[in-house]
């Protein structure tokens, strides 16, 4: 059984800025083997004002097998994350995982490009570290509303990635600019694959470019979930399957959350 349901101890849960918190838990030996792109389903505590009923899926920000720790970076935004935000050092948190299918990376890749925006930076940071271990060159285009929200650059810089920051406030994050950046990088050092998550607009652009410039791609999708293990069929998305591109329903939790960029119906 590669999935465990466990009561994990919270080691820390601190504000990073006025929107985001960073939580470290002692998750045990199985959970800390989580792969980039996989997620956990967290039983968020209920508070006087917030009564989250379902668990909340959350991708990992960092995991360390040696210390059995798993870290999350999350934006405090709804009943679930507000519930999580009250956890303090020493509290316990029920954690189910690791769940879903993570990113795949061909060892023959020479160069990959990561395009991440907002909280998606947290999901893709572990992937950069994995690629670095495989001696694959990394370019990371990090996008956010403003400079302050580009929180995880160091994770990409520390593993030797070429980091390009684009932000809304100076319009450098526009889709047009992103496209020209992607073309420029490809011209200088063609990449074998692109990895992204979240944004439909960015995924659509990458999908189109991948046909033209011939690179592979994977996207981590988000969808409201209940069970997280493929039973309830609430997190479904239509996907293009097989050579005939037949439209079939797939579950983001169990068939994903990472999908081939060519599969996704946008």
């Amino acid at each position: 059984m590669a999935v465990v349901e466990s009561k994990s101890r919270v080691l820390s849960n601190n504000w990073v800025n006025n929107e985001y918190k960073h939580m470290v838990i002692d998750a045990g030996p199985v959970a800390s083997k989580v792969e980039p792109g996989q997620f956990f389903n967290l039983l968020c505590p209920q508070t006087d004002t917030d009564k989250p009923f379902f668990r909340r899926p959350m991708s990992t920000y960092y995991a360390d097998e040696k210390t059995n720790t798993v870290e999350f970076l999350y934006k405090v935004t709804g009943a679930g994350t507000r519930g999580l935000s009250v956890l303090e050092e020493g509290d316990s948190l029920e954690v189910l995982g690791p769940l879903g299918k993570g990113f795949t990376m061909d060892p023959d890749y020479q160069h990959i490009i990561i395009v991440a925006r907002g909280v998606g930076l947290a999901t893709l940071a572990p992937l950069a570290e994995q690629a670095a271990k495989m001696n694959i060159r990394i370019t990371a285009i990090l996008s956010a509303r403003d400079k302050e929200r580009l929180m995880s650059q160091h994770r990409f810089l520390n593993v030797g990635a070429t980091v390009i920051e684009i932000i809304d406030t100076d319009n450098s994050s526009s889709l047009e600019n992103l496209e020209s950046l992607l073309r420029k990088v490809h011209q200088e050092d063609p990449y074998n694959a692109v990895y992204t998550c979240g944004s439909t607009r960015i995924t659509r652009l990458l999908n189109e470019l991948s046909d033209e410039l011939k690179f592979n791609g994977e996207v981590a999708l988000e969808q409201h979930m209940a069970c997280g293990i493929g039973m309830c069929y609430c997190c479904v998305r239509p996907m293009k399957v097989g050579s005939q591109k037949e439209i079939k329903s797939k579950r983001v939790c169990a068939d994903g959350p990472v999908f081939n960029i060519k599969e996704v119906v946008l």
């Binding site: 009564k51 379902f54 409201h224 039973m231």
Partner: protein, 311 residues
Amino acid sequence: MIDLSVTVKNFALQNPIMPASGTFAEGLSDVVDFNRLGGFVTKTFTASKRPGNPVPRICELNSAMLNAIGIPSKGLDDYIKNTVPFYKQFQPPLIASISANTAAEFGELAAKLSQVDGISAIEANISCPNIEAHGKAFAIEAKSTANVIKLLRASTHLPLWAKLTPNTSDIIGVAQAAESEGCDALVVGNTLLGMAVDIETRRPKLGNIMGGMSGPAIKPIMLRMTYQCHKHVNIPVIGCGGIMNAHDVIEYMLAGATAVQVGTATFINPTTMIDIIDDLATWCLEHDVTQISEVTGLMDDSPFEPYTALS
């Protein structure tokens, strides 16, 4: 040694704990030991493929959830080819939950399943509120219930369970209709039709607008119906609705349930059914119960002292 086994009219289960249809699938075997369950009740399928409802298909409430999944189905062939063989590797019996648009189609599907090795019983989902508009289903009325159960009974020798709906004004009439047409047990029952609205977007919280409510908030309603059915039919009643722990199971059994199904709780905590089985044994030990089956219908519902003082 505590005996947790129960018998649902000649159909033996090693314990009274089964999953409720639609809240259980192969993926749970990554988390819990399937061989410990009383039985497997799989997600309802139809003879042909169905896409299911638009998203969002689910939303949370206080101590409850709403769903309108809409029975996405891979069809009969896929069930026989993939689902049945998967469950064959475990010991507990497989109970196939089925649905169809007409009574005749129900009968045809049951007949086909009766030829399949590895299926031990049929649960007829004659109560899904999400298939037809406004939650209409066979089990809303006694007459349509009798009609569909009659055809099902004629089509299969397998134990036949009917899953009833709380969205009826006549639960006793429906239960008696199912019994008189040869049903072997009643599952009481499916979800309660409800809705929720996002006040910011002014959109329904479900793509289907309406959906089925489940979870601990509806337990008193389902418990009441379990009791009513137990009182008015002679076939076993399988309680289902809002069970979160072993105490809930005992409550259902006292009210007349022979066995139970656990659904929504598994979404919140995937080990719930196993935890319940462990806790049931403990409860029995603490209450000098050697056979859990003795608990069924044990509630003392003798009249309370009449209250005579006038206001």
